[in-house]
């Protein structure tokens, strides 16, 4: 149970950082494309 909780927490943490990174990159690319 402890292992499962720990691995889930790590997965959520990594998922949060990766998904936010992808979202901001996409938004910046769109914004820079619109600007030009």
């Amino acid at each position: 149970m402890a292992y499962g909780f720990g691995l889930l927490a790590l997965a959520v943490l990594v998922g949060f950082y990766v998904s936010r990174n992808a979202r901001v990159r996409r938004a910046l690319l769109n914004a820079e494309t619109r600007k030009t």
């Binding site: 149970m1 402890a2 292992y3 909780f5 720990g6 691995l7 927490a9 790590l10 959520v12 943490l13 990594v14 949060f16 950082y17 990766v18 936010r20 990174n21 979202r23 901001v24 990159r25 938004a27 910046l28 914004a31 820079e32 600007k35």
Partner: protein, 243 residues
Amino acid sequence: MAFWEFANPKRFMGWSGRALPWLVALTVITLCSGLVWGFAFTPNDVRQGSTVKIIYLHVPAAWIGINAYLMMFVGSLIWLIRRHHVSALAAKVAAPIGLTMTLIALATGAIWGKPMWGTYWVWDPRLTSFLILFLFYLGYIALWAAIEDADTAADLTSVLAIVGSVFAILSRYAVYFWNQGLHQGTTVTVTDGAQQDNISSAFFQPLILSMAGFSLLFVTLVLVGTRTEIRARRLRVIEGRDL
């Protein structure tokens, strides 16, 4: 290249972009090896049985929980003294990682403590200072979110990081100058290379590998997060909107 040149966001983005693929690969290999080795290929303990395998999550998570705050302390000092934005952003980004690691350490410690000590929790020096550290992480993240102006937020959270670092240090060293309490003393000391203190050799190597994996994960996520924050700031400049 001097260290301070990475305070330039463009240089930081260039360097971190080149380093990240290697870091990600190394992190995955090290972390997976350590956890799989520890969980599947180590013997059960004579007294603790299979419960001892929580150590491969609990100890590395606690290690990162303390060191993440110390990194935030250093980043905050650099912001207050030299006003490098990259440093403040790195500290901001490290906080949720440290919070998660502290939570993992507290939760796995409680789950481990019940069969071993007969209780989920005691108010001993190490556990109490760790809980306070967890609350400081929460406060730090909340303070960043509460203040609209980024530079003011960085100033105030830097002060909080410096004050809270006392508890990070206490968590690590409390057992040396208070009564021992229920929590065991140091498992691993790092002087000339890591040395095992209170742990059998069979568990020590996968533990070190797990700790290395968690450390690499921390560095990787801080780099990813800082790059995201730099891009978000650029986006705010272009569009004048919050992310």
